[in-house]
Symmetry: C2
Subunit: 418 residues, 2 copies
């Protein structure tokens, strides 16, 4: 086969390990100098292709590329930009193909969630129709863990570890002080549509008296009285109550609790998240002193406490994506396959992009206890291996040293789009 260039793009919300996938892609591509010329990375994801803003990763040293493995967030920039269907937006697809053709790009590796895999799939098909076939390979990524087929998504294990570690630590804090101070602590975590992240926080409690005592899932309609009853019970039994609430928890009306507050006295939308709302509800009804935390981006950027399993899998999927391309595969995505048996093992399998695109994997109902407030043993068995192992970044003067890239753009070959 002839030599061609490769285009890699990061898409959607970034994670603690998406750059580990980028590292896997670039390091592996560099092992095929006869087949792969330049690895371009989209500046700010697919937007970089549309604008012909192609970062020439060949200008980055081997050391810098290696450092991507321990660098959080999207080193090349990501974007929230979903291409419409081809019939709705012919121009954008044509533009991407035009840019690819101008730069002799015949490999497209798209690192993202379901929407991105859908886009990669469409480009694979379209490029054949247009007579300039592009090998399109997906690289899975999402903290939400919502991609089908793959056992889990790179990015999820690290946020899972962060939330479990954080509630274990903050729970100890509350336990220390509950006699005379805070009795209820509420930590809000991500997961607008599914309780994967909230559920993983449940790993921190190894017995019923350990934090978190209550988890509020998007999958379970919020029952105010039952919740308050359980809070009272925890304070009575354990002296305090540590709560993990998913940002996506909904009331009986099916609306997000975080939206229920409506507007404040100035007519502004409710400022807080769901954690302060839950905390205030507890205060009003029980009088317990509360504290609350909203980790927000801290949780998905927390490379300092990344899961080693997650880092390895993120790297492996990036590596496998290049290898798939080199073996002539197309419109597929490396998937993580969990081995059978008690001892956790995993390997890389293959999923057709058509089967991945736009399918959202929900958390199984069997992962939530009957009372709706915690995780089952089945959930623990699933989550536990994903947070295993520590993979610390290097430090200098007390701070993690993350890759600093040059991000040199390739010279443009096309006139700008009007």
């Amino acid at each position: 086969m002839s030599k061609a260039n490769l285009f890699y793009a990061q898409s959607g919300g970034v994670t603690a390990v998406i750059n580990a996938s980028a590292c896997g892609v670039i390091e592996t591509a560099r092992q095929y100098p006869d087949r792969i010329g330049t690895v371009y990375a989209g500046r700010n994801g697919i937007v970089g292709a549309l604008r012909e803003e192609l970062i020439d990763t060949g200008k980055e040293s081997a050391e810098t590329i290696a450092a991507l493995r321990h660098t959080p967030a999207g080193a090349f920039g990501s974007c929230r930009y979903k291409l419409k269907s081809y019939s709705e937006n012919t121009q954008e697809y044509d533009r991407i193909l035009e840019v690819f053709r101008a730069h002799d790009i015949r490999y497209f590796l798209y690192n993202g969630g379901g929407d991105s895999q859908d886009t990669a799939n469409k480009i694979a098909q379209l490029s054949i129709e247009k007579g300039f076939p592009i090998t399109c390979i997906g690289v899975p990524k999402t903290v939400d863990n919502d991609l089908p087929i793959t056992d889990n998504c790179p990015g999820f294990g690290s946020v899972a570890k962060y939330v479990a570690v954080s509630i274990r630590e903050a729970g100890l804090d509350v336990a220390s002080m509950c006699e005379s101070s805070t009795k209820v602590f509420v930590m809000e975590v991500m997961g607008r549509h599914a309780g994967w992240i909230a559920g993983a926080a449940g790993l921190a409690s190894e017995s019923v008296d350990e934090p978190p005592h209550i988890i509020l899932f998007p999958e379970v309609s919020f029952d105010r009285e039952k919740f308050l009853g359980r809070v009272r019970e925890c304070v009575r039994e354990y002296g305090y109550c540590a709560i993990v609430v998913s940002e996506g928890v909904k009331g009986p009306d099916g609306k997000f609790l975080s939206e229920a507050g409506g507007t404040d006295a100035f007519g502004h939308a409710q400022l807080g998240g769901v954690a302060p709302m839950i905390a205030e509800m507890v205060k009003q009804e029980t009088g317990y002193k509360y504290h609350w935390a909203v980790a927000d981006y801290l949780q998905r950027a927390a490379r300092h406490i990344a899961s080693a399993t997650d880092v390895e899998q993120a790297y492996a999927t990036g590596k496998a994506a290049v290898e798939f391309a080199m073996t002539g595969k197309n419109a597929v995505m490396p998937a993580i396959v969990r081995g059978v048996g008690e001892e956790y093992s995993w390997s890389i399998g293959e999923a057709a992009l058509a089967d991945v695109a736009n399918v959202e994997k929900k958390m199984p109902p069997s992962y939530i206890t009957d009372d709706g407030f915690h995780i089952t043993d089945a959930a623990r068995a699933y989550f536990a291996p994903l947070i295993r192992g520590e993979d610390y970044p290097p430090y200098k003067d007390g701070l993690p040293q993350y890759a600093r890239l040059k991000r040199v753009l390739a010279e443009k070959k096309l006139p700008p789009v009007q």
Copy 2:
């Protein structure tokens, strides 16, 4: 000298390393079997003395005590309970002395902030007047870094490291996405009265374009227009703006900004902290998409990312407190003394409790840049060594393994207080 028992108590808000001090106290006390009998720890701090709830640390194995060094929060329980002056509350002081006498306690080590050092000092004086002299030694502790004489307070270095690491990581996240998504990120940190913690977050930015771009200090009156101008400037120059705000930031009226929101539509007090308020203000005025985080207890409990310097100093002050008692000192506190010269060094000095009690150390004005939005080189020189070094706890199955204590109470010898 004859043999006597020792009473150790944790006081006020707990930290990631207060148990390292406890570890230093107990391990060192165990080296003086001829002088020190049982080391009791107050269950929930000084409250444990008032209630005669004395945890017999002799029932804990050497392994468990050693594990305290890497365990966050207060292993014996802490409390927010300030004894009044003796004239106002004779009964409580008398009760403490009665409990000490009943259990042959002649060493009192109090691990806390300014209020606690004041209490320890009073008990030292009073016990002499009462003819049952107690050797009272303070052990410094506070995330707020507000004790005088000591160069810094154990507990501060670790929260400083947490906030600097967190804003570096979250800042990278925002930088990745700012082209098409969040442009302004606000992280709220502790420090109701002084900007030490907020200032330490400034270490994360090694050049003007690196996060955090703006720090809002309690020491600087919030100037809305100037602040919004700087936000706009950052977004224009760097594409995004990462902000660290101290919970204690105040408006021109001298009131906490977090209180300015008043009540919401339901007449409830403003739910959110100052981060959501600042974020919403930016949104209203500039239209920039925002995210915000409130780390709350996560920051002071984050033993997983503790500063090795802080852990060592916390242990050393606990150790020194026992050694002070053994050499006949009284009413003093080990203080951390910074060595002179470019290379950071520290040693243990001595502060009289009378000089420590109720004196709040403020952050020097010279630590804040002229525009009021960042830290100076003088501040960097002060903060940098305090976050140095990593001291990771042991992990099992992906989670940090913190000490689990038996907390066996000594048999009571006194009738309960009516």
